[in-house]
């Protein structure tokens, strides 16, 4: 998994230590800790994983093993407006793939990448449960249903 190098500021270190403490520094709570840390920082760069490992007293390789196992965790910062295209079966059958292609073309990024200006990142996810609205695209907090490939540009326009 590629990563970016960052330097944690003292208050961030404190924040992460605090989160670990909330879970009693219990290694069994690793996944909950990672969820909370990712919620706070947006992603889980190597430095954060090292800190979490040392707080929970487990090898950092184990933390990395967990981070790379679960698709929810990311070591790369997401864009300001993360775009998620539902790839559940219902959406797939109703043409989600074409929508993804269109977004890739419009933003010139691949799945899992962020645009150079940090504005958009693109990911696919499994069924969001809005199958009646298939295909579904989520941009930031906003959800778009019955998205047609032609309407992609128009939708993205909203966020520019």
């Amino acid at each position: 998994m590629s990563t970016v190098k960052i330097e944690l500021k003292p208050h961030q270190v404190e924040q992460i230590k605090q989160i670990c403490k909330e879970f009693n520094n219990d290694p069994g709570e690793l996944i909950n800790v990672l969820h909370k840390v990712q919620n706070t920082f947006g992603y889980l760069p190597a430095e954060i994983q090292e800190l979490v490992a040392s707080e929970l007293n487990i090898p950092v390789a184990k933390v990395y093993g967990v981070v790379t196992f679960y698709s929810f965790f990311t070591m790369l910062p997401k864009g300001q407006y993360p775009i998620s295209v539902c790839m559940g079966t219902a959406c797939y059958v109703r043409g989600a793939e074409k929508v993804v292609e269109e977004i890739k073309k419009a933003l010139n990024i691949k799945i899992g990448e962020t645009t150079p200006d940090g504005k958009f990142s693109l990911s696919c996810l499994r069924c969001v449960g809005a199958c009646g609205l298939a295909p579904v695209v989520m941009i930031g907090e906003k959800t778009f249903g019955r998205v047609a490939p032609e309407s992609v540009k128009e939708i993205l326009q909203e966020f520019l």
């Binding site: 998994m1 590629s2 990563t3 190098k5 190597a46 430095e47 994983q49 090292e50 490992a53 040392s54 487990i58 090898p59 950092v60 390789a61 184990k62 933390v63 990395y64 093993g65 790379t68 196992f69 698709s71």
Partner: protein, 592 residues
């Protein structure tokens, strides 16, 4: 224990409840092939992830095939280990594994010694029907170990050794699915990790994914250099295992042939690390007595227990994991390094040559020794005390490359002055040996009386953690022994918690001590091999005319002529060392 009746391949037999199909079949003389499974019985290590699925068998009434390694027998179970369905599945799975594995067997360091290769042969694979993308990873080279994960088959044995047995925690399964692989954190190189280079991952790897850094070519070039005087030292455990590489049964001692072979390879002097082991006992034993006496006299600045420090993997382990305890281990260097520093001073002077023209090579059962040579504190002006180290396996290979018929070699003796050793030096090669050697000397130095007996059976054995109390003429010395870093961790945690009442502890990183080292001939999961080597070491000891380090005449000589006395300033300078806190995170971004 209740028993169970089962039928395997039409043979009926009774087994204890809890027996797996694999073990039951073995009992019936049926050897079901396995790949990821590993059971080092005498060392209490069992690894059965049931991941490779090579050992699948057909159990009547079951929906799918069952992995023999993990499935326990049940009453009335009927098992077929070679039905059409089983053989087809087994071959197909093997083909799948091979389809994600490079087929460069001809030039693979593991060729001829590879479990995957021999299993493919055993299963009669002649074509890989399923071809496709192969998973590839960045190759990683460290001072000791090469990781070529393209060859990883995800048996996860290394992960078990690194985590469960050694508790080092450097290796973990990372990623998911097809890209899953065993790697250090962030898929960084091992030298950015707390890896101890114990080499146990290499020792159990069934393929060429984990191998040692090979120094044989460097050795060949060095031996051919007319400007250099090349000397060699060979560790005690090597002589108890090298014969295996030439078809001798495990536990055959080949000391004399080893010396002869080294001479024929072209070394100018063939010395023995055992000599340096005797020297180590002089220093470490003296240090022990010094600390013990001061402690008993109420010196609050002295802490006990004293820990042995001859195992480089163990040293790196506590530097990373217990930096708060780095003042506890003995400051004595390992025999390899004592040998190197004495050779490049005392012996170089004796020869009248510059240390730069004296090349010290070591033959070690160990991969961490390769790393130990490179530690900067063991070099003078950039010239290392020990130039490089090769493993028992590399030596065997070199002997074969040099067309030496090992088995027909005569027995020869080591050279002097650094080749003479005692039985105490020999037993360094197995768990409990260092502390027994230390006791033999420390007892006589402390009590000023001759030892009533020389064999301390209470210190021997293969249990992971052992303890004994030795009576030093009224002073009860509590001794602890651990092999395997996981066991060491337990003792260290007690010390950290102030719960330890040991005076001295011996620690070896590898199972069984150096005889089970990461550089030894591969045991392929057969722990009786380690047991046999263990026995051989004690046999060598009992055959030695002198069995106490302080009685070694060449040790006495080196003190008289060069070092003065144990713990003298010169000895301190040449034979002792300091340790470093390595717990600081060393995350480095490795660019692809």
């Amino acid at each position: 224990m209740s028993t169970i009746n089962i039928t395997i391949d039409n043979k009926t037999l009774q087994v204890d409840k809890g027996t797996t199909i694999l073990k039951a079949a073995q009992k019936a003389g049926i050897h079901i092939p396995t790949l990821c499974y590993m059971h080092l019985e005498d060392l209490n290590i069992e690894h059965k992830p049931a991941g490779c699925r090579i050992c699948v068998v057909e159990v009547a009434g079951r929906r799918n095939l069952a992995p023999a390694c993990a499935t326990e027998c049940t009453e009335g179970m009927v098992v077929n280990t070679h039905s059409l369905r089983v053989l087809n599945a087994r071959k197909t799975v093997m083909e799948l594994i091979l389809s994600d594995h490079p087929t460069d067997c001809l030039i693979c360091p593991k060729s001829g010694n590879c479990d995957l290769q021999s299993m493919a042969h055993q299963l009669g694979i002649r074509k890989i029907h399923y071809q496709g993308e192969q998973s590839t990873y960045r190759e990683d080279t460290s001072p000791s170990i090469i990781r070529d994960m393209d060859k990883c088959i995800m048996c996860r044995r290394c992960e078990t050794m690194c985590n469960e047995f050694q508790t080092v925690g450097v290796l973990s399964a990372v990623n998911r699915g097809f890209m899953a692989v065993v790697a250090p954190a962030f898929e960084q190189n091992l030298d950015h990790s707390p890896c101890t280079y114990c080499g146990q991952c290499v020792a159990v790897c069934p393929t060429g994914a984990l191998t040692e850094v090979d120094h044989t070519n460097q050795l060949i070039r060095t031996l051919a250099d007319p400007a250099k005087t090349v000397i060699v030292q060979t560790a005690p455990a090597v002589r108890a295992a090298l014969g295996e590489e030439f078809g001798l049964p495990a536990g055959t001692l080949v000391t004399g042939k080893l010396v002869a072979a080294l001479r024929r390879l072209g070394f100018h002097y063939v010395f023995d690390t055992d000599w340096a082991a005797d020297l180590t006992i002089m220093e470490e034993g003296t240090e022990l007595l010094d600390r013990l006496t001061r402690y008993l006299n109420g010196d609050k600045s002295v802490t006990l227990p004293i820990l042995t420090s001859c195992c480089p993997a163990w040293v790196k382990f506590f530097e990373h994991q217990f930096p708060d305890l780095i003042d506890i281990p003995s400051s004595a260097r390992s025999p390899q390094q004592m040998f190197g520093s004495v050779a490049k001073t005392y012996f170089a002077q004796m020869l009248g040559i510059d240390r730069k023209n004296l090349v010290v090579v070591s033959i070690m059962p160990c991969l961490a020794k390769k790393y130990e040579c490179t530690r900067p504190e063991f070099a003078v002006d950039g010239n290392p005390d020990v130039d490089f180290s090769i493993s028992t396996r590399e030596l065997a290979n070199l002997i074969k490359q040099s067309n030496i018929d090992f088995l027909s070699l005569p027995d020869e003796d080591f050279d002097n002055p650094m080749g003479e050793s005692t039985g105490a030096g020999v037993i360094f090669g197995t768990t409990g040996g260092v502390i027994e050697a230390a006791v033999r000397t420390a007892y006589e130095l402390y009590t000023k009386k001759p030892l009533p007996r020389i064999d301390f059976h209470e210190l021997r054995g293969l249990d992971g953690i052992r303890q004994a109390t030795i009576d030093f003429d009224g002073l009860k010395l509590n001794i602890g022994i651990a092999h395997g870093l996981g066991n060491a961790r337990k003792l260290l945690e007690d010390i950290r918690a102030g719960k330890s009442n040991f005076h001295a502890i011996e620690i070896m990183a590898c199972p069984g001590g150096c005889i089970g080292g990461g550089g030894q001939p591969l045991h392929h999961g057969n722990s009786t091999i380690i047991k046999a080597r263990h026995k051989a070491i004690y046999l060598e000891d009992s055959n030695k005319p002198i069995r106490k380090s302080h009685e070694n005449p060449y040790i006495q000589k080196v003190y008289q002529e060069f070092l003065g006395k144990p713990m003298s300033e010169k000895a301190h300078h040449l034979l002792h060392t300091i340790y470093f806190d390595r717990s600081k995170k060393s995350f480095v971004v490795t660019q692809e």
